[in-house]
């Protein structure tokens, strides 16, 4: 095993040299996770708004359900969809197992409860007069909804970042549903798991640096936006 400093130096070199395998893995990770976010976010926000705004039978049960789903392990989600998508499973005919689509499905299942629960809290905390004022000033339901989303934008950003952070770093579901196939379904966390098990730490550290940089940038951006808002700029 190489000394840690040398491993980190190798990892940095891999990143800076534009190693195609490494950057290919990063690209797959972002493609899959961003697709999952794009699909899940509109439905999650609408669900959160409906849960916060309307009274209907089963509303409280749904709120509890989404809160409970926050802590479901990724590997359990992976196992559930594995059973559904495997050849003997009820959705086996779709032949989705070990594809990026399967990974997207698994990540949607992981990020949806986070998006709903956090957006719901943000909608719930908003003054009800916001909706009423928008409507009485002539906004239709769609414009009024976008107005509310603007009012709670920092809560929504926090939900988006938390959900993205969860799925881009999860290994259980991606490993089971994607199969860790190089150039196709190998993403950052599955690659880190594989390289570490092989004793090849340089690529794992390089990918870890990408994840840490992403997390740091997103948090810094969110804090910057919140500070600007507080200072009224």
């Amino acid at each position: 095993m190489q000394p840690l400093t040398e491993t980190i130096a190798n990892a940095t070199r891999l990143l800076l040299d534009g190693n195609p395998e490494l950057w290919g893995i990063i690209a797959i990770s972002f493609r899959v996770s961003l697709t999952a976010m794009l699909v899940a976010t509109p439905f999650a926000i609408l669900t959160a708004f409906a849960l916060a705004h309307f009274e209907f039978p089963g509303r409280k049960l749904l709120v509890t359900l989404f809160s409970s789903l926050l802590s479901v392990p990724a590997v359990v989600v992976g196992l559930t969809f594995y059973l559904l998508l495997s050849r003997q499973g009820p959705l086996g005919d779709w032949k989705l197992l070990f594809t990026q689509t399967a990974m997207v499905i698994g990540q949607i299942a992981l990020c949806f409860p986070i998006l709903v629960a956090m957006s719901h809290s943000a909608f719930q905390a908003l003054d009800r007069r916001a909706w009423e004022t928008a409507r009485t000033l002539g906004a239709g339901p769609t414009r009024a909804l976008f107005t509310l989303m603007r009012e709670i934008r920092f809560g929504l950003f926090a939900a988006l970042f938390a959900a993205f952070g969860r799925i881009i770093a999860e290994v259980g579901s991606s490993m089971m549903l994607g199969g860790n196939i190089l150039h196709y379904t190998r993403n950052i966390p599955t690659a880190i798991a594989l390289e570490t098990s092989r004793g090849e730490f340089a690529q794992g550290i390089a990918l870890g640096i990408v994840l840490l940089t992403l997390t740091f940038s997103v948090t810094a951006l969110l804090q910057h936006l919140q500070q600007r808002r507080m200072s009224g700029q």
Binding site: R129, E132, T133, A134, R135, L137, R150, R229
Partner: protein
């Protein structure tokens, strides 16, 4: 503006076992100011919210010229033509201009109209200030200017002068008078009846879920347009 008349009849509303409104009848006419009194919890705010299409009554009809219609068939119309102002107006996160612009439909000459509203409400000096940094009186002026830009047929105002100092109250009353003179139908719900002695045309009282005539006010205040 639209010379509309709204006739609400038999409005009833209960919250659980408690019947807040039994059979409330009330008319709104262009250029007419109705002052509504009633004790705390008598259902004034509920009635106003129902009239503005924001809350569903258990029963009741609305007639805006073509015969009585059940509420469910005209709630959208009410939302479009009757504006409700909260006791403490909600300000959107943005400056005064943004809040005024919100009341405008797309495609209209926003800049000119916002400038006119700033002048109307005496808000020019604070046009770029965050709306949430304004005082209570300034917020009320902004809410009225925003309502003025929206050009509804009627405005329902819930305690528009509550918790205001005398100066802010006089300015608010002057703006309300201006709205009345422009032909808006106004319905003002207030505990401070004497504030509006020079403004109202009809005084009503809501009690026991029904609306009836109110006793005359003892105190008067002179309104001066600033």
């Amino acid at each position: 503006m639209t010379q509309a008349q709204f006739r609400f009849t038999g409005i009833g509303k209960a919250f659980g076992e408690r019947r807040v409104l039994k059979a409330a009848n009330i008319d709104l006419s262009a250029g007419c100011c109705v002052l509504l009194s009633g004790r705390n919890g008598s259902g004034k705010s509920t009635l106003l919210r129902i009239m503005a299409g924001m809350e569903k009554p258990d029963r009741g009809e609305v007639d805006f010229g073509g015969g009585p219609l059940p509420w469910r068939r005209c709630s959208h119309y009410l939302q479009q033509h009757i504006l409700y102002l909260h006791q403490q107006p909600y300000m959107f996160d943005g400056n005064v201009r943004y809040n005024l612009g919100y009341a405008l439909r797309r495609g209209r000459d926003k800049k000119t109209l916002i400038a006119a509203a700033l002048h109307w409400g005496g808000l020019e000096a604070m046009a770029n200030a965050p709306a949430r940094s304004l005082s209570g009186g300034e917020r009320q002026r902004l809410a009225l200017a925003r309502a003025w830009l929206r050009r509804p047929a009627a405005m329902l105002l819930d305690e528009p002068t509550a918790n205001m100092d005398i100066e802010a109250r006089i300015t608010t009353l002057a703006l309300l008078r201006s709205l009345k003179e422009e032909g808006y139908a106004l319905l003002i719900s207030s505990h401070d009846q004497h504030h509006f002695d020079d403004l109202f045309d009809v005084r009503l009282h809501l009690g026991d879920g029904r609306i009836g005539p109110a006793r005359p006010s003892a105190q008067r205040i002179t309104v001066v347009r600033s």
